[in-house]
């Protein structure tokens, strides 16, 4: 090949890089390793983790059974090693599955349209907020304090430099749901949208309908956010919502230390041209057969540049495919039974903890997560006792919610066995003895 190019050495091809800018050392990266050494390396890292622990962590990333067919299908090279389906004629596989994904997301959320995916729930929220601002041409946002704290952090980062001030709406100290009076007091005709999560960060079904009514009264949109998709199997969608954004990790991906995930954004048909992200649409090919392709690209960065509805390009297609397979496997009946199992497990655990002197902090109805305060000893003690039994307890809320210091956000899903739950609940009692 060098001969064909009439050069001596490949180095010659880099002549256009000024000598002074060339890197003359060797990278400080050890020599290449064989796949067996690399597997060993990562297995060693895995041993430094929590292998074999039971866990009651949720808080935005959930442990659920994953049908083996998901990986069997998602690892097929045709899906794994293709890219954004720019060339529809040889990308109908991906395009069709995304179209199915969009449809299922719409069916689940009760919306009329959904996009091809966002990075994750935390980034879908600010995108939805900007979308609301474009629609309403307004510049204020109200976000419930019970919105996932890390989602709120991301929201702040995104908006800090746009003139999109965000105000936080309190939650009711008893119910743990949004404080409607506080919401109303903060609403005005400058507010573009009210952002409410349900189930909220505390695991509680929130008052989205009431919030919608208030928001709409002031001409603001209601954004409904979710981080635990499993709840959608049983939770009545908020028909009044204008945009639904959230996280589908529960339906697709292992916890994988919090990523990759898959964000969704669904809305009313009338807002479709304001949506961020890729959209797959139905059309026909030259022979009149049904076909799919990327559409409404005029919203997107590669056409609209600075005026685009978002800067997103690569999204989370493969995780969206996994979610599509998951939703197909569970289907109509399965998602319902899954949700009912989560409901039952969480209630069993809550009761068991109560029986060990723990008390629920909020009175609102919860799905598979709840906030609890140990009756004796503090949350740290409880979790330390649990760790000794190879159980990872719930999330200590102190750092994220100072007012909830000493309380725990505890999650139980269908994967948590009764014995595990008994064993963790016992720690609420046991830890007391150690005071």
């Amino acid at each position: 090949m060098l001969a064909a190019l009439g050069i001596e050495s490949i180095e010659d091809l880099f002549a256009s890089i000024p000598e002074c800018l060339r890197y003359r050392q060797r990278l400080a990266i050890p020599n290449g390793r064989s796949e067996y050494e690399i597997l060993d390396y990562f297995r060693a890292r895995a041993e430094e983790g929590a292998k074999g622990y039971a866990s009651f962590l949720g808080a935005g990333v959930y442990r659920h059974f994953r049908p083996v067919v998901i990986d069997a299908l998602a690892t097929r090279g045709e899906f794994l090693t293709s890219y954004t389906p720019y060339q529809a004629e040889i990308s109908q596989g991906v395009l069709t599955t995304i179209f199915e994904f969009q449809t299922m997301v719409a069916q689940l959320t009760g919306m009329e349209t959904a996009n091809a995916s966002m990075y994750d729930g935390s980034t879908a929220v600010p995108e939805a907020g900007m979308m609301a601002a474009r629609i309403t041409r307004r510049g204020r946002l109200l976000a419930a304090r019970s919105l996932h704290p890390e989602y709120r952090q991301v929201l702040n980062t995104y908006y800090r430099h746009q003139d999109l001030p965000i105000e936080t709406v309190r939650y009711d100290r008893d119910s743990g749901q949004i404080d409607l009076t506080d919401l109303e007091s903060k609403l005005s005709d400058e507010v573009a949208a009210v952002i409410v999560q349900s189930p909220n960060f505390f695991g509680l079904i929130d008052k989205t309908r009431e919030a919608a009514e208030l928001a709409h009264r002031y001409g603001a949109l209601l954004l409904v956010i979710f981080s635990e998709a499993a709840a959608l199997g049983i939770l009545e969608p908020t028909a009044e919502a204008d945009i639904v954004a959230g996280e589908l990790q529960s339906f697709a991906h292992p916890t994988s230390y919090g990523g990759p995930c898959v964000g969704v954004l669904a809305t009313k048909k009338k807002y479709i041209r304001q949506m961020p992200g890729r959209l797959v649409g139905q059309t026909v090919d030259a022979d009149g057969n049904r076909a799919f392709c990327l559409t409404l690209a005029t919203r997107e960065q590669h056409i609209r540049r600075a005026k685009a509805t978002s800067n997103i390009c690569t999204n989370q297609a493969l995780v969206a495919l996994m979610a599509t397979v998951y939703m197909t496997v569970f289907g109509k009946q399965g998602l319902r039974e899954l949700a009912e199992q989560n409901l039952a497990k969480a209630r069993y655990l809550a009761d068991a903890i109560r029986a060990n002197a723990g008390s629920l902090v909020f009175s609102g109805p919860f799905f598979n997560e709840f906030v609890v305060r140990p009756g004796l000893g503090d949350s740290a003690r409880v979790n330390d006792a649990a760790l000794e039994k190879n159980v990872i307890g719930g999330l200590e809320l102190g750092r994220l919610y100072p007012e909830l210091d000493g309380a725990l956000l505890v999650c139980a899903t269908e994967v948590n066995r009764r014995e595990e739950m008994d064993s963790y609940a016992a720690c609420f009692g046991s830890s007391s003895r150690r005071i």
Partner: protein
């Protein structure tokens, strides 16, 4: 005569045959039949709960209308059949310019699924997260070595997300100096995410025209950089595949005038081990791990867009940062100047694992060799077709070469048509009509993955198509003829968008 399916016999053949088997799979919703299930759950080991009581009847939904009801084998067949309608790197050359479609080692899939890694939870105690934290720390250090930058954040989920993070970092830094400024300069050759990002970060975008050599025009840059300018976003090598030779002078100019230099690192596959942006005067840049570091593109993600910065930007990086004390790693959330989080948790961790595996497999020298081969392959293609297609800029090519369709358009054949015809020759097309500064662009990036054999076939195909454009243009204009799906009507899709499936009106 009636058919079992109820259709008259005449219709039949249309229904299943379409060039060859398994090409007529319906949508999963059309496959559904009442009451079928494909899921399994262990029996509930705790007392069941009445949903209405637990949540309040008003909160409990009815059945999810239209949701699939199919068996496991139908699921396997549905998605397996659909997968066969797709082209992929595993099937052949995928020369999408600017996308760096290189081979995705299967090892990395295995590595990312190791128990203890794949099931780690972002909130598990740090004492039980040392391994996953170590993976991040090591990857950060390798990436800063590769880029020649002081620090790296792994939080951004993709390139565009990295750009946003980077511009927000620059903004925070300038603010700390007293003035965030209002304008970001972007060459007219830039990728669309650059201006979109600047706008998202609250900046006005001013375009800089490229010069006749396809590079930044120093003169117009000189003229454009005033004290309203926060930064220049430059891609290097740029989207025409050309190294910005003045990059150091550009950096100096910007710094003189209190502005910062942002580099879009999407094209790092041309530089790894050969040159380091940190040495060019770049202040902030992003990498696309799904490009340069071979994490699978997955039909459009997930990716990862780590951002590398010089030390003056480090204090502003997203929270949390990993710190090491006496061999123990911990997260530091106490960063008063940080721009905050750009994503929940720790970014697309699973993608980071794959990228680290890729780096470990190559080692420092291996990474550099990959760069050499990538550039060699691009130049080999360039040489192979330079007589057949018009080369708008004759500056040396790095990892990709960009041609135009000006010769072929004389016969009414456009880059989009040539792309479709390439499909008939068994290849995925190049990137069509980007960058914008090249009218009718063919943007070709083979990557180091391809062998001479595959490159020769590709060159032959492009040569053959060039001849077809002259002799039998209709062949090209009506392409592809050899795929299950013929040319797709994209206009129609946009005119009256149908983005979700709806049951046929007659409810069938």
């Amino acid at each position: 005569m009636r058919l079992a399916s109820g259709r008259p016999l005449g219709e039949f053949e249309l229904s299943k045959i379409r060039r060859h088997q398994t090409q007529n799979e319906p949508l999963i919703f059309e496959r559904s039949s009442l009451g079928k299930i494909g899921y399994q759950l262990p029996p509930l080991d705790v007392p069941p709960v009445d949903a209405d009581e637990a949540l309040g009847a008003e909160n409990v939904r009815g059945e999810i209308a239209g949701f699939p009801e199919v068996s496991e084998v139908e699921i396997i067949r549905h998605f397996t059949r659909l997968s066969t309608w797709n082209y992929a790197i595993d099937l052949g050359l995928y020369p999408l310019g600017s996308c760096t479609m290189k081979y995705n080692p299967r090892l990395n899939e295995a590595v990312a699924r190791i128990e203890g890694i794949v099931d780690a939870h972002p909130y598990q105690p740090q004492t039980l997260a040392q391994g996953v934290m170590r993976i991040q720390q090591v990857l950060e250090s390798y990436l800063s070595n590769i880029t020649g930058m002081a620090a790296v954040t792994l939080q951004p989920a993709a390139g565009a997300h990295g750009e946003l993070t980077g511009i927000l970092l620059i903004r925070a830094y300038l603010e700390s100096k007293g003035d965030a400024r209002g304008v970001v300069l972007i060459p007219d050759s830039a990728h669309g995410t650059n201006p979109a990002t600047a706008a998202t970060a609250g900046y006005k975008v001013k375009e800089i025209a490229s010069n006749e050599r396809g590079m930044i025009d120093m003169a117009s840059l000189e003229a454009a950089v005033d004290d309203s300018v926060a930064a220049l976003m430059v891609t290097n090598p740029n989207t025409v595949g050309i190294f910005e030779q003045d990059i150091a002078r550009v950096a100096a100019l910007l710094h003189d005038r209190g502005a910062q230099l942002y580099m879009d690192g999407a094209n790092m596959n041309a530089l790894v081990g050969v040159a380091r942006p940190g040495d060019f005067g770049v202040d902030v840049m992003h990498l696309n791990l799904h490009k340069t570091f071979s994490t699978p593109h997955g039909g459009g993600g997930p990716g990862a867009g780590p951002v590398a910065v010089k030390s003056h930007i480090e204090p502003f990086l997203p929270v949390p940062r990993i710190r090491e004390e006496a061999g123990m790693l911990r997260y530091d959330h106490d960063l008063p100047d940080s721009i905050g989080r750009v994503r929940a948790f720790y970014g697309n961790f699973g993608v980071l694992v794959r990228a680290l595996a890729y780096i470990l497999a190559h080692g420092g020298d291996g990474l550099r060799n990959a760069t050499l081969d990538a550039v060699l392959n691009a130049n080999y293609i360039r040489k192979g077709i330079e007589n057949d297609y018009h080369l708008p800029y004759d500056a040396p090519s790095m990892h990709e070469c960009v041609f135009s369709d000006s010769k072929q358009s004389l016969y009414g054949v456009k880059t989009g048509d040539i792309a479709k015809r390439l499909i008939d020759y068994g290849f995925h097309p190049y990137t069509v009509s980007f960058p914008l500064i090249v009218h009718g662009a063919l943007m070709i990036e083979p990557t180091e993955t391809e062998s001479k054999g595959e490159l020769d076939l590709f060159i032959d195909a492009l040569k053959s198509i060039a001849r077809e454009a002259e002799t039998t243009p209709e062949l090209v204009l009506e392409a592809p003829q050899t795929t299950r799906t013929s040319r797709v009507d994209e206009t129609r899709a946009a005119r009256k968008p149908i983005v979700i499936w709806e049951p046929p009106a007659d409810g069938v």
